[in-house]
């Protein structure tokens, strides 16, 4: 009898002789009965459909796991937009310069990060980058301002007409329409005007009126407007009147007057009546207040 003949027998793999031999054995009946009875056995019931449903339901429950990527992507999109917005505005704000503006009849003091001081005269504007101040001391000026520069790196004041560069000193820069004036009160100031550099020692001033350069000397230690006065030395009357307008926030009109005459003198920045007299008396002209206007006119006209 071959190996595992019982298994072969159940599988109908026995040869005829083997089978007949097996049938003759006294154990055959028992095996026959076991084989027969065992086919009537049943395993516990199993609900195929129910079980499949349970799995499918579980899949539905698990489904969000798979889909979750989607809202996350959406979130990423929003997050990316926010990041771009934040970084964008950061750089934008960072590149924004600090700007200080004064109106007519107003002056302001500005303290820079390195303790340099700027006093801004009426109707003027400065802008600078306070974040990178220690790397680059540079000011853009439109108008007039007095600078007390702390010692340190090169300090530049850029105006439309010229560039002023210093290391540490006190100076005044006035840049009005057609009028550019730099006065050095302490140290040495370098003025670049029309590409020409001029060294300006203390007590000197550099004036350019409509491109014509003049040099003057000053005895004061700070500009007169710091003491609420405006001082001029051989300056055409029209620039004097413009300054007067700025200081007193008043409109000036002239009649029959040559505004190219040179004016040397001082007027008050606080007392309008006094200031008007300071201007009119040396020229022997008359004035008349008309509301927020002052009219200067020659004596021989009504």
């Amino acid at each position: 009898m071959q190996e595992n003949y019982l298994a072969k027998w159940l599988n109908n793999e026995l040869t005829e002789t083997e089978l007949s031999e097996f049938k003759k054995s006294d154990t055959y009946a028992s095996y026959q009965r076991i084989a027969e009875a065992s086919t009537h056995l049943e395993a516990p019931e199993f609900d195929i459909e129910g079980s499949l449903m349970a799995i499918k339901n579980q899949q539905i429950l698990n489904e969000p796991k798979v889909v979750r990527l989607h809202p996350f992507k959406k979130f990423l999109r929003v997050a990316a937009a926010v990041v771009i917005l934040i970084t964008g505005s950061y750089f934008y704000l960072n590149s924004l310069e600090d700007t200080v503006v004064t109106q007519y009849a107003e002056s302001k003091e500005v303290l820079l990060p390195d303790n340099s001081q700027i006093t801004l005269n009426a109707a003027s504007e400065i802008s600078y980058d306070s974040k990178n101040w220690n790397k680059k001391r540079s000011i853009k000026l439109n108008g007039e301002a007095f600078f007390k520069v702390a010692k340190g790196k090169r300090f530049t004041v850029a105006t439309e007409d010229g560039i002023v560069a210093v290391l540490g000193t006190q100076f005044n820069v006035a840049n009005r329409k057609g009028f550019f004036e730099v006065t050095c009160f302490e140290g040495l100031v370098s003025v670049t005007f029309n590409g020409i550099e001029t060294k300006l020692p203390a007590g000197n001033s550099f004036i350019a009126i409509n491109g014509t350069i003049m040099e003057n000397t000053v005895a004061d230690t700070e500009p007169s407007w710091m003491n609420n006065e405006s001082t001029f030395k051989s300056i055409p009357l029209k620039y004097v009147l413009l300054e007067f307008e700025r200081q007193h926030n008043i409109t000036v009109e002239t009649k029959n007057i040559n505004t190219d005459q040179l004016f040397t003198g001082t007027f008050s920045n606080t007392d309008t009546e006094l200031a008007v007299q300071s201007i009119s008396v040396p020229f022997r002209i008359k004035f008349k207040f008309e509301g927020n206007k002052v009219l200067f006119y020659a004596e021989n006209t009504p």
Partner: protein, 170 residues
Amino acid sequence: MNTENKDTVCEEEVFSTIFKDNSKTVFNYIYYKFGNEEKAYDAVQEAFVKLWENCGKVSPKKAKSYVYTVANNLYLNIIKAEKVRLKYADKSLKTTHESPEFLMEEKQFKEKLDRALDGLPENQRTTFLLNRIDGKKYAEIAEMEGVSVKAIEKRMHLALKSLREQIEGI
């Protein structure tokens, strides 16, 4: 099987067919091993959920042996085999016109068979029942158990031998 023509188990239709063809056998397989209906049910669930989760990696051809392996590994060495309770198909009792003595004798025999089955080593019992109840060929059982056909024949032979010995009280 038409499922084998399709590419992926991820197709719900393919998956359902595989489930319907094999879940009952997986259930029985685990039940024969451990005699615990609940665990067998869980094993089916677990194995097929795993199959679904890995549907991209398992080809429909491999799906069958995959679920057996997963189901088998699930309780390997973890739960102790309990008593296997098998029912007897009703038809065997209905169709009989035998005498009460014969029926009594038959009943006693089945009780003995029951006990004898319980006393079999797990691998012999599983093999024997898969063949007798589920009609699985030795080759199929060999694939499920991951052994050779010859090993299954050996188990089958030994199962029959010890069943007879048990029943006859040898």
